[in-house]
């Protein structure tokens, strides 16, 4: 152990990097530590002391007060539906562009790229107004529809270039064997591209989970709000005391941590794929 320590002491760069990494993680640790303190303990000892015991009532109270279970259900429902639907939509678009090589595909692709870059601020009011007109305002369905399209803009862009390099011999062979376009798509293209589709699915899920502006505008009633919106609105109202804030932060961090641990590999690898394509 001491020799190992000495070995590391000779490496100031490594130590600096470890300290920097710790700095990135410390906010999570402080949140976790303080969420299990009782209000009395918190006001007596401040935020930096270690907890004396495990006090979970704060988290429990907060959970019940904001009906956090319902928020989780909403977030899972919205993010899950968006991820699945957006992947399907991206596959259909990219099949026409990347493999079908339809005429004017450069322009079609340019359109999807532009749609992807468009700030949501330039869509938010009309989307809000139109959803009121068609009676979809303050429904989870409205958010699902909007984000399916927004995420599919990126998915189409990425998948089109992936499918553009799809081995054409496989498709030709299948066509000669008499498979029609649908069969080629579902039985060949989709199974072969499964790794990329998996990456997209994970990304769409997490991106939608983290979205804030549009869900904030579209979901006003408590029963429909997502985790992000509910916590953001509570924080914005400045009504929470320290214990509540800690509980809110912990409950907000936990799902993200779970995703991170489950999908770490996909996330770090997928982000590179997305950036270079």
């Amino acid at each position: 152990m001491t020799t190992a320590l000495r070995r590391y002491r000779r490496h100031p760069v490594l130590i600096a990097l470890v300290l920097a990494a710790l700095f990135m993680v410390v906010p999570f640790l402080i949140v976790a530590v303080n969420a299990v303190k009782s209000p009395a303990e918190y006001s007596a000892n401040g935020p930096l002391s270690l907890p004396e015991g495990l006090y979970l009532d704060g988290v429990k109270d907060f959970w019940e007060r904001v009906d956090f279970g319902q928020k989780l259900v909403n977030s899972v429902l919205i993010s899950g539906s968006v991820a699945a639907l957006a992947v399907v939509l991206s596959v259909l678009n990219a099949y026409a562009i990347g493999i079908g090589r339809i005429r004017g595909r450069t322009w079609v692709l340019a359109f999807f790229v532009l749609a992807n870059m468009l700030p949501q601020e330039a869509l938010v009011y009309p989307v809000y107004y139109l959803s009121k007109q068609v009676g979809l305002y303050d429904t989870r369905l409205s958010v699902i529809i909007v984000f399916t399209v927004i995420q599919a803009a990126f998915g189409t862009y990425l998948l089109s270039s992936v499918l553009g390099q799809f081995p054409r011999e496989i498709i030709e062979a299948a066509r000669i064997d008499g498979a029609n376009k649908w069969q080629v798509l579902w039985r060949i293209v989709v199974p072969v591209s499964r790794p990329t589709l998996g990456v997209l699915l994970v990304f769409f899920f997490i991106w939608t989970w983290n979205e804030f502006l549009l869900p904030l505008v579209m979901l006003i009633s408590n029963d429909n709000q997502t985790v992000s919106v509910a916590l953001g609105v509570l924080q914005g109202q400045r009504l929470m005391d320290a214990t509540m804030t800690n509980a809110a932060a912990l409950l907000g961090v936990l799902p993200a941590l779970v995703f991170f641990l489950v999908f770490q590999r996909t996330l770090t690898r997928g982000i590179a794929v997305g950036a270079v394509k």
Partner: protein, 327 residues
């Protein structure tokens, strides 16, 4: 990867084949049908709202009744609106905090993790450290905002408590409540949020750099800094442009962090264009004016994307070209 091509039943085989052989042009065009659901959805959710927003920016609409055409009136008011200028000036600060700093720091960190930690201590160390830096990226921005507004709180906030504990009590500040400080505090939080993205992209980019380049440079006696300048940076230039473009756009769009941390305050000290347009839309209900603000923002973002795309393609072309003594 093995692919099994399943043979479909005889149904519809003949007609399919016959249609297929008629003309290659026609065959290509029939793929257009696959674009139909996407086209309809994009029309309804992106194209129509975007055109509506642009049209509304030429009116004095307040969200109810018939919009009255006002021509360029909204755009004439904008240059004299100090709030508008302040929000875009703060946008520049956000570009520094979310694009410039994370790209520069991410580049150095990626090189250090890849070229130093990965080689001397094994890729395990590099992967764990990378994960730590990337962690804030998966956090919803609203949650990151809660965590940090509590850490930066003036009373009993962790940062102030730490300062007190190490004897720097006089440095304690109302980090988010002081108009002179709030913008810098938000910038600090955004660096923390954003840093992991460039780092991960750059580390992935470094993996396709030929290790022989580094070995040759090392044999020639090039130190870490020279390897960094003459190999790392030129080799992953495409990634650098991609990251700069994406992060600049993200910085121009920043909304959630400002909403949760400061609500644009105190006294507009941290207002940004997207928050400005949000309040103009939904609190002041000056929909026409808000639409004009968001249209200006859109134009800027599209310009940034086009410049970024251009730089990226140029650097990729340079990379594809035969390399003649570039490193």
């Amino acid at each position: 990867m093995t692919v099994t091509v399943e043979r479909p039943g005889g149904r519809g085989r003949v007609s399919n084949g016959a249609r297929r052989h008629r003309s290659s042009l026609r065959r290509k065009d029939s793929y257009t049908l696959f674009l139909l659901p996407g086209a309809v959805a994009f029309l309804a959710v992106i194209v129509v709202p975007f055109l509506m927003n642009t049209a509304v920016s030429f009116t004095d609409w307040r969200g109810v009744g018939t919009p009255g055409w006002s021509g360029l009136a909204n755009y004439r008011v904008l240059p004299d609106d100090s709030e508008f200028w302040a929000s875009f000036r703060h946008s520049l600060f956000m570009v520094v905090a979310m694009a410039a700093v994370p790209t520069a720091v991410g580049l150095v960190l990626a090189a250090a993790l890849f070229d130093y930690v990965g080689k001397h201590f094994g890729s395990r160390w590099a992967a764990v450290l990378r994960a730590c830096f990337y962690l804030p990226q998966v956090l919803p921005i609203a949650v990151a905002g809660i965590v940090w507004s509590w850490i930066l709180a003036p009373e009993n906030g962790s940062l102030n408590e730490v300062l007190k504990a190490v004897g720097l009590g006089s440095w304690q500040q109302d980090w988010l409540g002081d108009p002179d400080l709030a913008l810098y505090s938000v910038m600090g939080v955004m660096v923390w949020v954003q840093l992991g993205f460039p780092l991960v992209v750059f580390m992935a980019g470094l993996q396709r750099v030929d290790p022989q380049l580094y070995e040759a440079a090392e044999l020639d006696g090039a130190g870490w800094w020279r390897r960094f300048r003459h190999i790392t940076v030129p080799q992953i230039r495409p990634e650098i442009y991609v990251v700069l473009t994406w992060c600049t756009i993200a910085a121009l769009k920043v909304f959630g962090a400002v909403y949760v941390l400061t609500k644009g305050g105190p006294g507009g000290a941290t207002n940004v264009p997207s928050y400005f347009s949000f309040t103009t839309f939904f609190e002041k209900t000056q929909v026409g004016y808000g639409a004009a603000v968001s249209t200006v923002l859109t134009v800027i973002i599209l310009a940034v994307s086009l410049i970024g795309l251009k730089l990226q393609t140029r650097s990729e072309d340079a990379e594809d070209a035969p390399t003649g003594g570039r490193a």
